[in-house]
Structure formats: C-alpha cells, structure tokens
C-alpha cells in the first residue's frame, strides 16, 4: 500500500525529468539537423564537434586557468554588487533622503550602454579589473532597485503592529524588513548571476583581459575556429547553469518553513 503511494508521489517528478530531457534532446536534434543541412563546420559545427572541442580544451591548462579567473571575476562582481545593493537598498528603502541622493546615480548607470561603460572604465583601470568593475556597475542597480521595492512593499499592517508593541528599529529591520525583502533579494541575486556572466565575458573581450574565457572566445573567432567558439559558449552556458542551480539549492536549504510566502524560483 505504502509503495503505491510513494510511486504515485514520484510520478510527477519523473514525468518532469523525462519532459525536460525530451525538450533538451529536441533542441539538440534540431541543432544537429541544422548543422547537417548547413554542412560547414566553419559556419555551424554539429553538437558532436562542439562536444569534442570541449574535450580538446579540457586537455589544456589554459582552459582551467581561464575559467577560474573568469569565475572569480563573475563571483567578485556579483558578490560586491549584491552585497552593496542589499545594504544600500535597505537603507534607501527606509530613508527617503538617502534614496533621493542615490537615485540619480543608479538611474544614470542603468541607462548607460554596457559597451560605453566597458570602454570608459578601460581607460581608467587595468584590463583585468574592468570586467569586475563593469559587472558591479551593471548588477548593482538591479539589486538596489529590487531591494528598495522589497522594503517599500513590506506589509504595513505588520509594521503598525510592531510600532504599537514598541519594537525597536533594529528588531524591525531584522524581523520584518529583511524577511520581507528576501524574495526580492533572491530574485536580484539570480538576475545578477545571469547578467554577471554575460557582462563579464563581454567586458573581457572588449577590455582584452587576459587570461579569460572572453578572450578565448575572441581568439576562436579570429582564427575561425568556430567549433571552439561553440565549445567555449557551451562551457559558459554550463557554468552559468551549474552556478544558478547550486545557488538555488543552497538558498532553498537555508530557507525556513515559514517563508512559504516568498517562494524561490
């Protein structure tokens, strides 16, 4: 009897995994068919050639060094922007004057084209640091805006209750604002991770930052190694996917039962 119940519970999960695998397989097959139709690895390498390229790259030390350094830039940029975005966003949400002071700065950064920022920053600082700074400048406004919005959407009725019971400001921040902001912070973190990869690799290419995944992509393009270009892209997509899933896993693990109102994506 019990085994029947468990089987029934597992069915949706199994169905989900099968469906996701099927969808992935569909797109890979479509890619393979397109590659066969184009019939030129220089224009569109097949999935198999791309995978072979990944194994070729994995045989060199440059592969690991490049990934390691790019990862450090992504993490550094995302970490600083999320941390500062959360702290300053919290202050901005609570203090109108601080929000008014910060808002023009954030709005300006948000409206700047990424390429302009990269080239401009490259004039001022060393190439290796450009991706980190640019990632910060792109991800910080996202976190800031999300957190400010989170603070402002805090349940006024709960705040009223806390005021009535003379709860201190520090307690209100810890027990009300931070939990209220958490779903917004998580969304900002996931956004920053996704954006961080794109911005870091773009900045690495434009700033000639060495060693890096971005520059390897660039060299693959220059030497017309399209299969390696695809292999590096595949590596970036895989790294981004793994990091996103790992972050979500740890966030869910630290989640508490009462946070049902702020479901993780």
């Amino acid at each position: 009897m019990i085994s029947t119940v468990l089987e029934n519970n597992n069915k949706p999960m199994l169905k989900k995994v099968l469906m996701k695998s099927g969808v992935s397989l569909f797109w890979v097959l479509l890619w393979a068919l397109a590659a066969q139709w184009v019939n030129s690895p220089l224009v569109l390498p097949s999935p198999l050639e791309t995978l072979k390229g990944v194994f070729t790259l994995a045989g060199t030390s440059n592969f690991y060094v490049s990934i390691g350094i790019t990862l450090a830039r992504v993490f550094g940029g995302v970490f600083i922007s999320v941390l500062l975005g959360m702290v300053l966003g919290l202050v901005g949400g609570l203090n109108e004057l601080f929000y008014e002071i910060m808002n023009p700065f954030v709005t300006t950064i948000k409206s700047l084209p990424v390429v302009s920022v990269i080239i401009l920053i490259n004039l001022w600082i060393a190439s290796g640091l450009v991706p980190l700074v640019v990632t910060f400048l792109i991800c910080f406004p996202v976190t800031w805006t999300n957190v400010v919005q989170g603070v402002r959407s805090t349940d006024l009725k709960i705040l009223e209750m806390a005021k009535l019971y003379n709860v201190s400001k520090a307690r209100k921040i810890w027990d009300i604002y931070i939990p209220s902001v958490k779903p917004f912070g998580v969304a900002a973190l996931m956004n920053a991770i996704g954006l961080g990869w794109k911005v870091t690799v773009t900045a690495e290419v434009l700033a000639n930052a060495l060693p890096s995944v971005g520059m390897n992509l660039y060299y693959s393009k220059i030497y017309l190694e399209t299969d390696l270009l695809f292999s590096w892209t595949l590596v970036i997509v895989c790294c981004s996917f793994i990091i996103e899933k790992t972050t979500l896993y740890f966030l869910k693990r630290t989640d508490r039962g009462g946070l049902d109102q702020c479901p993780l994506p």
Partner: protein
C-alpha cells in the same frame, strides 16, 4: 485612577470624526463600544494608541508605551514560529530587564491551548488558532490598556463563541482595562461590563449601559 480621554478632536479634511469628545473608562473593566460601520470606532482605537495623531486632545491615566492591541486580523510574522511571534513583542529592553520570559510564553501558550503548536508557523494553523495567538500576544505584552478591534468578526459562530470564552478566561487572570469595539451587539454584550453606543459622525455617545458580568456570560 480611571483612564480619561479629554477633548479628543479629529477631522479628515472637511469630515469631522471627533469634536471635543470626552470619555472616562473604568480601570480593570471591559468597555464595549458599539456603533454603525464607519462611525469612527476603529479611528477611536487608533487615536487612543497613537497609530493616528489626533488634531487635539489628551489621554490621561495610561502610558502610550503600554498599550496592546488585538486587530481584526492576527498580524503575525509569517516567517517566524508562534513562539517567536510571541517573543517578538517581548524583545524591548524594558521588558527584557523584567527577567526571562520563556516560562511566561509557555504558560500563555498553554492558556490559549496552543502549547503543542508553539514551534509551528502561522500558515500551519487555522484562522481561529492564529487569532488566539494574537490574543496571547496582547496579554503577554505588559500593557495597561488592551484595545480590540472586531477580533472575532471574521470567524464562524462556533469558533467565535469558543474564542470569546478563551478571551474571558485569560482576562480573568489579570483583569486589565479593555476597550472592545464591534458592530455586533451580541459579542459586545457577552464580553463587556459597560457598553457605549457611538452615534454617526461627529461621534457622540448616545447610550451607556452597565452590564452585569454574571448575566453577560451566557450561551447563545
């Protein structure tokens, strides 16, 4: 010394809610306030506890820092357990100095019949249980005055009766001064020692009735 509300005035634009409104509340008694919807009963409570600022007026005989409130909805922190929700209002320095309150929380949880669910989250409890937590929180907070704004209105009849019985049982322990607002005469009669009926705006007391506690606790 009774609690006195003197010359209370409040207006929203042209609409005058209170104009030189005066009221004397007996200490350690439950005063019920009846009145039509929108007559200013909730505003009266909010003015008493400082959630809204009056245009003029004073409240004598109670420290504004020592007021607790049972709202229409429980207003619990959804991300904290029931025990943590109760602890939340006891975290001020002045209360902490009074000594460890874990035992008091346990006693209160037992009193409201929630001692087995202290580590549950609000979403895991029914509406009535959550409102009972809100009652426990209000009594746990060392207040001189307890305000209640239709706390039973959203509950079904059986639960309402049970909760009102629970309320009276807890109230018997420290008999603090209560202002209980409702539009439901039966609820008011069941709990109050004195019933005041508010008129429409600007608010005046149109009727005052003294109730006998023994006759008011009755089954429907």
């Amino acid at each position: 010394m009774p609690i006195t509300i003197k010359n209370l005035s409040k207006a929203y634009g042209d609409q005058v809610i209170f104009e030189d409104f005066n009221l004397v509340l007996e200490k350690n008694k439950i005063t019920g306030i009846l009145g039509p919807s929108g007559s200013g009963k909730s505003t009266f409570l909010n003015l008493c506890c400082g959630l809204e600022k009056p245009d003029r007026g004073t409240i004598i005989g109670v420290n504004l820092q020592t007021i607790s409130y049972i709202f229409q909805e429980p207003r619990l922190l959804p991300w904290r357990t029931i025990r943590e929700n109760l602890r939340f209002v006891l975290k001020q320095k002045s209360i902490r100095k009074a000594g460890p309150h874990e035992e008091t929380i346990n006693e209160m949880l037992k009193l409201v019949g929630l001692d087995t669910v202290g580590d549950f989250y609000p979403r895991e409890l029914s509406g009535g249980m959550r409102q009972r937590v809100s009652i426990a929180r209000a009594f746990l907070y060392p207040s001189e005055l307890l305000l209640m704004d239709e706390p039973f209105s959203s509950l079904d009849l059986a639960l309402k009766n049970k909760l009102m019985d629970d309320f009276l049982e807890i109230w018997q322990h420290d008999q603090r001064t209560v202002i209980f607002v409702s539009h439901d005469r039966l609820e008011i009669e069941r709990l109050s020692h004195e019933i005041l009926t508010f008129s429409d705006k600007p608010v005046k007391i149109v009727r005052s009735e003294k109730m006998n506690r023994e006759t008011t606790i009755k089954e429907y």
